[in-house]
Amino acid sequence: MRPVRVLIAKPGLDGHDRGAKVVARALRDAGFEVIYTGIHQTPENIVRTALDEDVDCICLSVLSGAHNYLFKKIKELLKKENASDLPIVGGGIIPDEDKKKLLKAGVFEIFTPGASLESIVTFFNKKIKPRKLSK
């Protein structure tokens, strides 16, 4: 079986990339294929990259408070591309209330400050599988 491919992306305008980079490295060390977009990516860019690279999961790190808009926008764009099955995992400073709403709106999981690397890696090992392309 091919390794699971994960896209780690930083949408929006903020440059807080410590968390994204630490998680990228932890997943890489745990055997995942990791593609990191770098910061300041538009939702359109992220979805394009995810589809071009055939990833199995999109991870979005946002610390600017713009998560509600950005997560939903990316979800919408995926739907347009018939890729709604592609799971989105979020991370960042995301208040509990927003987290609940976003999970309800179809975001697969959200990790907030204090989440251990171990818990994140375990989650990916258990829950993220190679995506079956419908084409």
Partner: protein, 540 residues
């Protein structure tokens, strides 16, 4: 009797004791370990070279540090209200947090700004917003710090314009713009242009302010963000001073006299959890900077030798879990900053891992500083820790380790070249990952997170940004564009472009453009046309 260090570790629970940055800490430091410590050359007196004990003769006996809480959210009106609340409660200086679009040079109605307007700071699109932000705040009397880097020249020009409108003498206004672009490439990642044109904008500001706004701190060379991005304390110290060296060298290379601009350079450090490591860092910073300025750059004015700095307690050290514990962390960090001799201080609020701070939590953060100043008595004697065997040992060690990094950066050709090479970025990323692994292995402890954790209900209310903020701000900037003199704006933008292409100081046409109510986004577009963009190297 000679001490056997082996015995000091008898009964110790760990083989090795280290600081939060993983620097080894000896079990006991005695006079002998300080190797002929010469207090005259190493310390001097407060207010004297090399300023290890503080930059002022009377330190906090003369004047306590400036209590300056970073604030900004929603519209200019929302933040103006918060500013006035803080001043009423005894805050002594202002500090402005701009929203992400302003920091990145976009107007609120730019498509890239969707979801970000007024969320992580205050929305400023044009001079009109700036007028509201400082409404009923006398700029000749209050000092204002503005955390702005890429578009620093624009926001500085707006501040000057507001002060002039208030009738203030701009020779008397005082405050700070962060204006430290090098640490943007290193850590905060909010650049607008590539390094070289960015450095030119900075020296234009140095030159303009030294003539026209002489009391302004034209740069705040910042270690804060480097540390938040995951560096060690030594890296924070070394990279910050190396950035400082680059700015001074650049100023000299463009023909400025060192003593004309160096006295207005200021610094900004983090204060993390490791109490003595932080105090040692502050003391080492002063000693090292004075040596750099006197010996390397041959500055003559003692004001050029002084490392004046602002401190902010560490945002990343706060936990979303059991958030009330953050009050204790902030108090201890603030105490270290005060014992380290800071000139101004921001204390974080307990809810800042969840959202921007609420009014109640900000008040506690301000009161924390007031308690340290008024109740604890730690300010009564200057540098009370000076001469402590342990503190001097740690200060020496910090200095020694930081010089090694500075040498390495010199070898790479200076900080701009080091950044292009990616060296400091890799060092920071590696340190961040190392710490995270230590947390995972429980070699380092965060109370409430990887030890003493518990199930809890979040007990606190957090600040919510009004949902109509974005829409209202968009209408506002669009209305400004309709009301202003369009011909005047386009003439001003042309002049700005001409100055950007040539060698004339950018500040004069910038000031004119700002006064014509050209927007942040419009001015940045002009500059992008001339200076180009910079791409994130995305090092992991």
């Amino acid at each position: 009797m000679d001490l056997n260090p082996q015995h000091c570790n008898d009964g110790a629970k760990k083989k090795k004791f280290t600081t939060i940055s993983d620097m080894e800490v000896p079990p006991l430091v005695t006079e002998k370990d300080l190797n002929n410590f010469n207090s005259k050359t190493k310390l001097g007196l407060p207010g004297d070279y090399p300023y290890t004990r503080g930059i002022y003769e009377s330190m906090y006996r003369g004047k306590p540090w400036t209590m300056r809480l970073f604030a900004g959210f929603g519209t200019a009106q929302d933040t103006n209200k918060r500013f006035r609340m803080l001043l009423e409660h005894g805050q002594t200086g202002l500090s402005t947090a701009f929203h992400m679009p302003t920091l990145r040079g976009f107007d609120s109605d730019n498509v890239q700004s969707r979801g970000e307007v007024g969320v992580a700071g205050v929305a400023i699109d044009s001079l009109e917003d700036m007028e509201v932000l400082f409404d009923k705040i006398p700029l000749e009397k209050v000092t204002t710090s503005m955390t702005i880097n890429g578009p620093a020249s624009i926001l500085f020009a707006m501040y000057i314009a507001v002060a002039q409108k208030q009738g203030a003498d701009i020779k008397k206004i005082s405050g700070t713009i962060q204006n430290d672009i090098l640490k943007e490439y290193l850590a905060q990642k909010l650049w607008l242009f590539p390094p070289k044109p960015s450095m030119r904008l900075i020296t234009d500001i140095f030159a303009y302010a030294s003539k026209h706004v002489p009391k302004w701190n034209t740069i705040s060379i910042s270690g804060y963000h480097i540390r938040e991005a995951g560096s060690t304390a030594v890296q924070e110290l070394a990279f910050t001073l190396a950035d400082g060296i680059e700015y001074v060298q650049h100023g000299i290379d463009t023909g400025l006299k060192v003593d004309d601009f160096a006295p207005r350079l200021s610094f900004f450090f983090n204060c993390h959890n490791d109490f003595f490591e932080e105090i040692a860092k502050f003391r080492a910073a002063r000693r090292m900077w004075s040596k750099i300025m006197k010996e390397r750059f041959k500055a003559h004015d003692p004001k050029s030798w002084m490392c004046r700095f602002h401190t902010q307690t560490s945002g990343v050290s706060l936990t979303a879990q059991q958030p009330l514990n953050n009050v204790v962390r902030v108090a201890l960090q603030a105490m270290a900053a005060v014992l380290g001799g800071t000139q101004s201080l921001h204390t974080n609020s307990l809810d800042e891992t969840l959202a921007l701070p609420s009014e109640d939590s900000v008040r506690v953060a301000l009161r924390t500083q007031q308690i340290i100043a008024e109740e604890t008595g730690v300010i009564n004697s200057i540098d009370p820790l000076g001469g402590s065997y342990f503190v001097e040992h740690m200060t020496d060690k910090m200095e020694k380790e930081a010089w090694k990094y500075i040498e390495k950066i010199d070898q790479l050709g200076g900080m701009v070249e080091a950044i292009e090479d990616g060296y400091p970025q890799r060092e920071i990323t590696n340190a961040a990952y190392h710490y995270e692994q230590q947390l995972n292995a429980q070699e380092k402890v965060v109370v409430g997170v990887n030890k003493f954790s518990m199930e809890e209900k979040r007990p606190i209310e957090i600040l919510e940004i009004h949902p109509l903020t974005e829409r209202n701000q968009i209408l506002r900037v669009q209305s400004v564009r309709k009301r202003r003199n369009a011909k005047k704006v386009s003439e001003c933008l042309k002049k700005l472009k001409l100055a950007a292409k040539g060698d004339d100081n950018i500040m004069l046409p910038m000031l004119e453009a700002v006064k014509s109510y050209a927007t942040v986004g419009e001015m940045c577009e002009v500059l992008w046309d001339v200076f180009g963009h910079y791409q994130d190297p995305a090092i992991i």
